[in-house]
């Protein structure tokens, strides 16, 4: 499965204080919705990902419920975070 440039950029380095819109699959609209819910930084979403024990089904379901992500967006976001964790966690 080929990854987007956004995915590759995110996974290439520690996320630091990157905004939530820098996650793969999270564009402007979804980013705004997540920020309204309090997930304004990528590491907060990472926190949720880790609390769900990196489970794909739960995380994607949570993303769908929180910001209305569709299947592709949630899959991209999950893949992005999982790879980041494999590299840096």
């Amino acid at each position: 499965m080929t990854t987007s440039q956004k995915h590759r950029d995110f996974v290439a380095e520690p996320m630091g204080e990157k905004p939530v819109g820098s996650l793969a699959g999270i564009g402007e609209v979804l980013g705004k919705k997540l920020e309204e819910r309090g997930f304004d930084k990528a590491y907060v979403v990472l926190g949720q990902f880790l609390v769900l024990k990196k489970d794909e089904d739960f995380f994607r379901e949570w993303l769908k419920d929180t910001c209305g992500a569709n299947a592709k967006q949630s899959r991209d976001c999950f893949g992005c975070l999982r790879e980041w964790c494999d590299a840096f966690l």
Binding site: Q48, K53, D57, F58, E61, W62, K64
Partner: protein
């Protein structure tokens, strides 16, 4: 689902552990997800226990049709799926997206042998590789272990591939080809080629009679058997010519002795 709102986080965690649902900590953001999961699990359990799992497909169709109001767009494709995978249909009531499945519960055992059969069927189009017969033998032996009642299509397929061994002794000097898996079949076939070919033909005749749905299912998506044999023949002939010309290069007939 409102019943679970009264439970504390620790009680919810205990429920998740009792149902063997893989879970993380139950905190504010995850609580709703786990409540939903428990609700879905209990509903599935309630639905599975009265009718029994074996004859549940027809019952579950009516059940799905009666209870699923919002997910009717998924009823039609899911009906075919429910025939093959009995426990995957129950998700449609709660989740419109088809990607959210309860993978945590694993596949039912009834889908196992059918999957194994399908694996062996899908391995048939790999007629162009060296090791396809080796792989088919492995798959044939493994699937024979899994489902004894499917011996006849395996048997027919095995004999169909044995007939290919006819052609191997014809093309000589191919030592690098891995013939070690077919010493017995090639010897028997060379001795009694006519009888085995006729037996192959008779077996081929019997096969569609007994397993027409199986063969039909197999031939819906793959190249037909005669096509595969033809492709394999072509491949064998190409290899023969390659080796023939390689031997000629080694000999170098143009070299003159000084």
């Amino acid at each position: 689902m409102d019943d679970y709102a009264d439970l504390s986080n620790t009680e919810l965690t205990a429920l998740l552990r009792r149902y063997n649902i893989p879970h993380g900590p139950v905190v504010g953001s995850t609580r709703r997800l786990y409540e939903q999961k428990i609700f879905e699990y209990e509903t599935q359990r309630r639905r599975l226990s009265p009718p029994g799992s074996s004859a549940a497909s027809s019952y579950r169709f009516s059940d799905l049709n009666s209870t699923s109001g919002d997910s009717d767009m998924y009823d039609l494709p899911k009906k075919e799926d429910a025939l093959l995978y009995q426990s995957k249909g129950y998700n449609d009531d709660y989740y419109e997206e088809s990607y959210f499945t309860t993978r945590t519960y694993g596949e039912p055992e009834s889908a196992g042998p059918s999957r194994g059969f399908r694996q062996s069927v899908t391995s048939l189009p790999d007629a162009d590789t060296f090791h396809h017969q080796v792989r088919d033998d492995d798959l044939l032996s493994s699937s024979e272990e899994e489902c004894k009642d499917r011996e006849r299509p395996m048997y027919g397929r095995d004999s169909a591939y044995q007939s290919i061994a006819h052609y191997r002794p014809v093309s000589a000097s191919r030592s690098s080809l891995d013939l070690s898996y077919y010493p017995t079949s090639s010897s028997t076939s060379s001795m009694s080629s006519s009888s085995s070919s006729s037996s192959w033909l008779t077996r081929r005749a019997i096969r569609p009679e007994n397993h027409a749905p199986g063969a039909g299912l197999g031939q819906d998506h793959q190249v037909p058997l005669w096509g595969q044999l033809l492709l394999f023949l072509v491949f064998v002939i190409v290899l023969f010519f390659i080796y023939y010309f390689m031997q000629a290069e080694e000999g170098n007939p143009f070299q003159r002795e000084p």
